[in-house]
């Protein structure tokens, strides 16, 4: 007796075939996995891949005295600031060539004037506006010099008061004692401002990864929906039409295949983010994958609609690209659209990307749990989009002339 398949095995076999074809198609693998990975890496490189504050102060010391050394020492002691001492010629050339954007020039009379309680000889030269780095260095230098001048004035005042009281104390001893007091204050400030980071400190990659994943799952699944249309041209669909396969089974199998491909993308890209970019914990990675299951199920439904309405591969390609671009732009994959109101607010909320991006970002950036109301809302909407896509595809797709 012939061994027949069990219920549901044909959609699974169809999905298995889709995945086999996917993994053996270098072009599809490139667009689905390699291209998003390359873009993520490029963007990480462009954004520096770091969230800690870091600037370099380029310094030319024409003075060479102890107070100039004290200035560079204090500058270097600021967290995140690195001092790069340059000779005047090199510094001038680098600034001229825009290789550096800030230059602190400690003048020849810096120590002498500061010791005398006079405005010290120091300049901060910026290329253009000096970028953020130049502005920050300028601000630190100004603050430190003001502090040093203040200390010098206090030392001079103390010495004058001692002299008036008839106490002969050497200048060096007064300066040393005042210096120690200020140093103690710097080490243990009387007033501190507590810094608290709300949520998870956002890494640049964590901010744009959700948008990229959302865009590329939509793009890849839209494009692979072309495969069903392509099957019409190749004759494989007609061959399937002569089997006992039903339209619902074909659509289920295609949906499952799309779902599988999308899930591979989500696991691959977020998996790399977890393993190598340190933007996810094991727990948030698990949440991301579970949320990804719902998101990919949704986008697979969209792919099914494109496959159902397209008559030629070219038509399907155009619909896929157009649809992806519109949804990606409106849905906040490139920039945050959650603040949109009015018509734009309605439009952005009509996209798959908006809800998927919102959920992914909440999990990664805010550390929210899957059970949090906003994420549950995202998942409900995404599931609705997927179901609507499925129903629409079933209503529009005709496998054979005798399909009712």
């Amino acid at each position: 007796m012939t061994e027949m398949s069990t219920f549901g095995s044909r959609p699974l076999a169809l999905a298995g075939k889709e995945l086999k074809v996917f993994f053996r198609d270098p072009q599809m693998l490139f667009f689905s996995l390699a291209l998003p990975l390359v873009l993520v890496l490029l963007m990480t490189a462009a954004f520096g891949g770091q969230s800690r504050f870091s600037v370099t102060a380029r310094v030319v010391d024409l003075d060479g005295g102890p107070l100039a050394a004290e200035l560079t020492g204090r500058l270097e002691a600021v967290p995140g600031v690195t001092v790069d001492l340059l000779d005047p010629e090199t510094a001038e050339r680098l600034l001229e060539d825009s290789d550096i954007v800030n230059l602190v020039v400690i003048g020849e009379e810096f120590s002498e004037r500061l010791a005398a309680g006079q405005a010290p000889d120091i300049r901060v030269r910026l290329r253009g506006n000096g970028d953020t780095e130049g502005q920050i260095v300028n601000s630190y230098v100004e603050s430190i010099v003001r502090e040093m001048l203040g200390e010098s004035l206090v030392a001079r005042q103390v010495q004058a008061m001692l002299a008036e009281a008839g106490l002969e104390v050497p200048v060096e001893e007064v300066e040393a004692r005042v210096g120690e007091l200020f140093a103690e204050t710097r080490e243990s400030p009387l007033v501190t401002v507590a810094e608290e980071t709300v949520g998870v400190r956002p890494e640049p990659i964590a901010q744009f990864l959700p948008g990229m994943v959302t865009m590329f799952t939509l793009f890849a699944i839209s494009l692979t929906s072309v495969s069903l249309v392509e099957e019409r041209r190749k004759g494989t669909l007609e061959r399937l039409m002569t089997t006992t396969l039903t339209r619902a089974e074909l659509l289920s199998g295609t949906w499952l295949g799309n779902f599988g491909r999308g899930l591979v993308q989500v696991v691959f890209l977020f998996g790399l983010a977890w393993l190598f970019f340190n933007v996810l914990t094991l727990s948030s990675f698990a949440s991301i994958i579970l949320f990804g299951v719902v998101a990919v199920a949704s986008v697979a439904g969209i792919g099914l609609v494109i496959a159902a309405v397209s008559r030629t591969p070219e038509q399907a390609n155009w619909i896929a690209v157009f649809f992806t671009m519109i949804m990606t732009s409106l849905g906040g994959s490139f920039f945050d659209t959650s603040g949109f109101t009015g018509v734009m607010g309605v439009l952005t909320r009509m996209t798959y990307n908006f809800w998927a991006n919102d959920g992914f970002r909440r999990i990664i950036l805010e550390g929210e749990a899957l059970t949090s109301p906003p994420i549950v809302k995202d998942m409900v909407v995404l599931a609705g989009i997927g179901l609507a896509g499925w129903a629409l595809a079933l209503a529009l797709f005709r496998l054979r002339g005798d399909d009712k």
Binding site: T2, E3, M4, S5, T6, S9, R10, A13, L14, K17, K20, V21, R24, D25, K234, G235, T236, E238, R239, L240, M241, T242, T243, T244, L245, R400, G401, D402
Partner: protein
Amino acid sequence: MEVRDLRKVFNGTTAVDGVSFTINRGEIFGLLGPNGAGKTTTIRMMSTTLPMTSGDVVIGGHSVRERPGEVRRLIGVCPQEIALYLELSALDNLVFFGRMEGLSKAEAVRRARANLELVGLAERARHRVAKFSGGMKRRVNLAVSLMNRPELLFLDEPTVGVDPQSRNHIFDTIEGLRDEGMTILYTTHYMEEADRLCDRIAIMDNGRVVALDSPRNLKASIGDPDEVTLEDVFLNLTGRRLRDQG
């Protein structure tokens, strides 16, 4: 199988115009005619993939019009084009289509191996179809159509563009299937193929059957059957050479 007054009209153009014939169990029935004669359209209607404008086809007691699902269980179709997934291996293709016929995975694998053996490609089972020659692809195409062990097999120009070795392999396979009792509907525009393989032949031209008989009787109708060819028969019936149309 019985074809009753089958018609197909595409946008006002009649592609098949009142075709009727019967095919007996276990025979190879040839549909012979130039490209555009309506052979493929006829096969598509008979194999349930193209709705007919009028008429009907009855296969194994089931009307294609009324019970296409029942008919699909009885038929196998080897289309004119290479309807395969080129990225997959020959075995994967056969197993996949076997599963679409409702076979379990184990049964599909068993039949796939047997069918690849039948068409002489057992040793290439794991090779990607994309790497195969045209003739080998045609043999895989044929092997796929046998996955559900059909009672009636449609072969639509199965030897187009194949090398002589593959052609002979396909002929041997078809004759072997006939010997096992399978009914085969074979379309071609190659006279010598039809002459060699078919028990009876319907010659089609402009969507109509213009003659129907055994190859020998068809040839005898215009002369000495050992001297004239089916090409001569077609010329005599239509005033045109068959190959000129292709």
